[in-house]
Symmetry: C2
Subunit: 445 residues, 2 copies
Amino acid sequence: MTQHNEQMHLGAVIMATGNHVGGWRHPHARADGGHDLAFFQHLARSAEQARFDLLFFADSVGIRERGGPQSLRRSHHIAQLEPLTLLSALAVGTERIGLVATASTTYNEPYHIARKFASLDHISQGRAGWNAVTSFTDSEAVNFNREKHLAHDLRYARAEEFIAVVKGLWDSWDDDAFVRDKAEGIYVDTERLHYLHHRGEHFSVRGPLNVERTPQGHPVLFQAGASEDGQRLAARTADVVFSAADTLEQAVAFRRGLQRQVAEQGRDPLRVKVMPGVFVIVGETEEAAWQRSRELDALVHEDIGMAQLNSMIGVDLSAYPLGGPLPTLAHTQGHQSRQRLLLEKARREGLSIRQLYQLVANAFGHKILIGAPEQIADGLQQWFEAGAADGFNIMAPFFPGAFDDFARLVVPILQGRGLFRREYQGKTLRDHLGLERVQSRYANT
Amino acid sequence: MTQHNEQMHLGAVIMATGNHVGGWRHPHARADGGHDLAFFQHLARSAEQARFDLLFFADSVGIRERGGPQSLRRSHHIAQLEPLTLLSALAVGTERIGLVATASTTYNEPYHIARKFASLDHISQGRAGWNAVTSFTDSEAVNFNREKHLAHDLRYARAEEFIAVVKGLWDSWDDDAFVRDKAEGIYVDTERLHYLHHRGEHFSVRGPLNVERTPQGHPVLFQAGASEDGQRLAARTADVVFSAADTLEQAVAFRRGLQRQVAEQGRDPLRVKVMPGVFVIVGETEEAAWQRSRELDALVHEDIGMAQLNSMIGVDLSAYPLGGPLPTLAHTQGHQSRQRLLLEKARREGLSIRQLYQLVANAFGHKILIGAPEQIADGLQQWFEAGAADGFNIMAPFFPGAFDDFARLVVPILQGRGLFRREYQGKTLRDHLGLERVQSRYANT
């Protein structure tokens, strides 16, 4: 079996034209990239040349609405190509890099999701990954016959059943079911076909899937939910967890806690990879990096900064003074775990509302690294060696410049220290992540 | 404006590894092509080199189940790559050919469909088409929380509302809405944003779509339903109708009838293109073509031949003698218009049950042309000049050989007669079809 934790894994988080709220305004940003295949092809090739494990596409099924027209018009996250459609196109012209798209369990049907990711796994020859999210905004709900998003616990109950159905559908056919015997006229051996016959609380799905079993057996399953429900679901089902942590201690505690839960579910903890998001601002020198950070801060208009913050914590803070501290807040139905991290950080560091919105504009609550290439590498190495992470989802503030800087300046240092691969060893995303191909549940029956 | 009807349009109908039920067994067929991107890339390039207007992918959201395991195991139409995922990949490496995928209005949500086809239209730079179908088999229903498929009239009511929502979402943003003013920090002009606020019988969708308005304005809308409900829907909404007709008279009557209905809806009849399916067996000589036809007939095992026929007409005929005539049959909820055509043909030509299943195995009720290249060209020219068609959806019995034969042998004759383009004149699928870019409903407000 592949050794775990010898080297770190790296994902490139791609969200419209940058992960920073004002990043699209930077002179080196392609502000119109979000609808341009050639732009994404450049990023994919850049990440593949740097030997990244994967591209990760965030998504929502509605515009990301935060605070009305005054902030909406300043947001480059409101529209971009749909990730699954885009990843199929990016599968052509790349050879090795993993392709991970977000899709909601609340606003989809499992048959479609099983089918599309199975197709992507065939098209990419084993490089597909699905980031299963439960969706948490009303601006998505209103596009799917609802007024409000579902309550947190109901979303997770549906998600768990959804994922079980998808995995079941992926095992519809044994690996050798399609015999295609021209002489006898037998295309498929129906003895190696398995109807799912699922009847549950939320779904009734007979199957089988009308796609052959895929190169990876199952496309890689990602999850990002860090609430208790989210962790429980991840412990039962995920291959990779895209986590959010601000301090080393938080990150170590999260990974250990998750591994404990994975073990309690009877799964091997080393088979679940924890990859925190890390927002990186790198410069040729430390001073250049901080200069870029100040430039980015200046690109965040107060309208959108406040709207993002309000959305993230689920409460309207516009009545409070920008220079003052956060008021005491109640829990909401929204993005619970991220909210908690932010509020803890604000209290711990005594941040003002303005400082907090600038922070959110950077990293949405993820770890931030700002510095010279060696310093960035040090930061990643420290977390990796302390057991805080199996790898990192790198969030560049804007594209393509800031991502290319990371690939050009930081990756060679990680490679030189033996912390990251110089060449791909395998072909599939599971190969890169040190995860074995998934055997069918019927394989030994 | 582009002149209509000067030249015919050609589509390549791609369904797993061939349109003929036994075609995959032919020595020149790639029986395992249905899950292989390289196989589809070959077909796409072959069709583009022949200057076809478009590739057309049929689809269903379940295995095509006809008559239990004995026939199921003989069917190569039970599994293949999901068309939308596949078409994005095919958009890369092709330059001009239109990319049309089938998606069901019964088992999807309009927001997803609007979004994915909008993305495909961006990715392909204006070559996307959506074939909207209502789905009519129980083997699809059982994958989507239902026991039975919806009744015919209910499916069409839902389809009409679904299409209205999709078209509305495609107009969410004016063409010039995304201003991306870095200096002012304005990404999008919200004055040029239109919320849909749709509240109907089947859907409640606020919008807007989170994808920019697309190169074609709206991806091209295809429909195939030829029932009264289907024609009414097409007359109101379609750009292209994929029709089925067996005789010239039927085809002329259908096209005239449809054009009349289009005019009654206040639309220009020349803006709706009628493209019947034509199943073609071409050989270097007439004798070679008939030889191939006999080879194909011999590849249809009785088990699957009967199962296909039973499925097509919605009645189990296995109790009747194969050599005898069809019994009198009642109407079913299934594929109504196709059923009527088949029964008419069987009566008219005095076909036995076996002859009818061999016919279905070829063309599923579509027009059949068998002969030397000149004869195929003659057949297409006759229909085209008689006003039976604006073009044809060419159904090759197997891939890639039989399709490549059509491209190599027949297309040059059509070009030589001035009936088909030698070079693409435009860039988008609408350009090829002589259809103008769709203006937003808000364009002159």
